[in-house]
Symmetry: C2
Amino acid sequence: MARPNRTKVALLGFLSWGPMSGYDVRKLIDGSISNFWSESYGRIYPMLAQLVDEGLASVEKTESDGGRPRNIYSLTDAGRSALREWTEDPTAPSQLPRDERLLKLFFSAGVPPETTIELIERFVVELKETQEHYAQIRAQLEAAKDAPLDQRYWLMTLRYGETQREAELAWCEEVLAELRAMASD
Amino acid sequence: MARPNRTKVALLGFLSWGPMSGYDVRKLIDGSISNFWSESYGRIYPMLAQLVDEGLASVEKTESDGGRPRNIYSLTDAGRSALREWTEDPTAPSQLPRDERLLKLFFSAGVPPETTIELIERFVVELKETQEHYAQIRAQLEAAKDAPLDQRYWLMTLRYGETQREAELAWCEEVLAELRAMASD
DNA sequence: ATTTCCATGTAATGAGTTACATGATTGC
DNA sequence: GCAATCATGTAACTCATTACATGGAAAT
């Protein structure tokens, strides 16, 4: 696990909560870390198979217990220690950001300010929707009274998103004021 | 240009400033938008060839004007209107964020708070380095007195990064306070 | 009846990094 | 003479999304 694949560690993390299916993982992600993470089925299912190949997880096929057969994955000891190894490492790769909205803004001198105002106003709408989404995540995370220690960490990650979105909204107001002044010249 | 490739529009944008080589583009990026964008040679050179294929740019090989021959690319009219089409469109795809540091924090209940404190402290160091980098970019952008309209947009994008990093630093202080309280229990 | 949700998976496609190969020129 | 910089490009690899295919069960 020199530089483990990101999907891999995400799956190890969720499986550490208990045995579950790929479908379950996806739903858990949507309800907890969609704030800063996403996974597609196209990655989840192949990666689960890979975890089994590598001995980090085991799979049990539940045949006909009512619904359609499901594949339930559990961490092995090797999986648990791989997860531990990753969480204990205090480094994180700095990701190269690529923000298409900012790229557009950067090259906007050639279009009328009104166009750029709309670009930013759409961003504001999106940000407010995101904030509402965060409120739902917050409700879900705060409901987990049975895992108080985990919960504190979860709320830290949520708080990160909340403060970032707030700062973005403040920036939007600043930029909109400038653009509107430019438009009225 | 339904959903143009991101590298493509970035190249169109820089070429709109005047004819230049792939090498030049890379250096310009580093000095202006490394704040929120990056391109590797492995993308730049093939994409420049593709632009020529598509009639969006033309290339002129400068043979032996002193140094090693360079390939200088210029926008065609088609290239200019493709860029215009993109900048005039006030939409931007919302990118799915994947923050490995936050993922690690999310799953940190199983490791001692000291480990997580180090994770955040490293983040603080990185953020301060980034802020210094921004100061250099600011100096470069503010030096461009010959393009005052462009400059206003450039500074808006820079200001975005500055406010985001500030908010991150404030979040780090908050989280560090909580983690230190947890560590001293 | 039909839509929605559960559930798993594959194939096609795109995007992007990193490492490598090459070789000239400039500055020390 | 040697290192750094200029300059272009390719190949291998990784990573990830999207669309598609399949089909059962539950709800309306």
